[in-house]
Point group: C3
């Protein structure tokens, strides 16, 4: 059993944002699988997806603080600068975190740990809407 659909996320400000509810809603509209995997893929190179703590919003603030220090803007060795100072760091952050997450689906539901949520990592100042491709497989 294979299902594939696109969803578009509303524009989010630069930072880390919980999108578990959006993904769960999309999953609920697909035929349920007893055991399978949901692949969530972002079709962009300056935003990314990750799994992390779903409760305390300061975790997501600290993610933004950390990644801004680990991947600085205006590094003197950047050559790809014509799209703005937030652009090259966004590409680097996107590859550090990755363009997809894949989550087990069990009895029709995301089989996440108690504290796990899905983050949209928006690395641009004005990234706009972001397109995801969801692929559900299982039986």
């Amino acid at each position: 059993m294979w299902q594939q659909r696109d969803i578009t996320l509303a524009a989010h400000p630069r930072g880390f944002h919980l999108i578990t509810d959006e993904i769960t809603r999309a999953l609920d509209e697909m035929p349920p699988v007893e055991a399978g995997l949901l692949h969530v893929f972002i079709q962009h190179t300056s935003a990314s997806l990750t799994l992390n703590e779903n409760a305390d919003p300061t975790v997501r603030t600290d993610f933004e603080s950390h990644f801004n220090r680990a991947v600085p803007e205006n590094a003197p060795y950047y050559q790809h600068v014509f799209e703005g100072s937030d652009d090259m760091p966004a590409h680097l952050k996107a590859s550090l975190l990755g363009a997809s997450v894949q989550v087990p689906v069990t009895c029709g539901r995301l089989n996440l740990g108690t504290w796990q949520g899905i983050y949209l990592c928006e690395h641009r100042d004005h990234g706009g809407r972001r397109r995801l491709v969801l692929t559900l497989q299982g039986e």
Copy 2:
């Protein structure tokens, strides 16, 4: 053909640990597939999984040294500090390394490169036992 099962890893000290044998044992108890994929997912946000060198234990020591420097404890800008100084770095390391690995399965066996092993990356001082969800698919 879909198979899904949970396994629980014994508590490991903070650091990087080879768990290829545990995963192989679990795979051997599942029906064999000729060609497929094994998805290994950790249901936590302060431990992670990665693939790396399976021979020299100093590689794993150097991983711990590097990540402790790249993601320091007690950074002055951390707000999420109430669970201890190892907690926020653990969340960041977990997203840098990722919550899952997916390995090709060929003729019933993990199709890893000669030097590849599966690491449990334990980022907490006292992380305790860790739950994995293994999903095998193929034919």
Copy 3:
């Protein structure tokens, strides 16, 4: 429907290289799937795969510059040094970026975003040829 095949990439110099064309050619030789996923796996621990910007080559130069600073050679705390100063950083970079990418396949084609390409990340000075395992699944 499952298809699995190996491909070997020609030796590339240290740095980040677009290999979307090689992957697309291999996909075109497999039976087409309407909806599915292509898993691309590298069987090495000192080279990796990622998705990022496919147009401006200075993005790839900046990736090399950034990762060389973020994961330095000759760090005084490295113990795994007998294979050369580029070796331990290569292992660390490989885990930061990951050993696989998985891309949706839709109507027989990689469903990448407009600006996304697949990068081979060659972290060794003389890494030689690199083996990939491609697993296509779908229906």
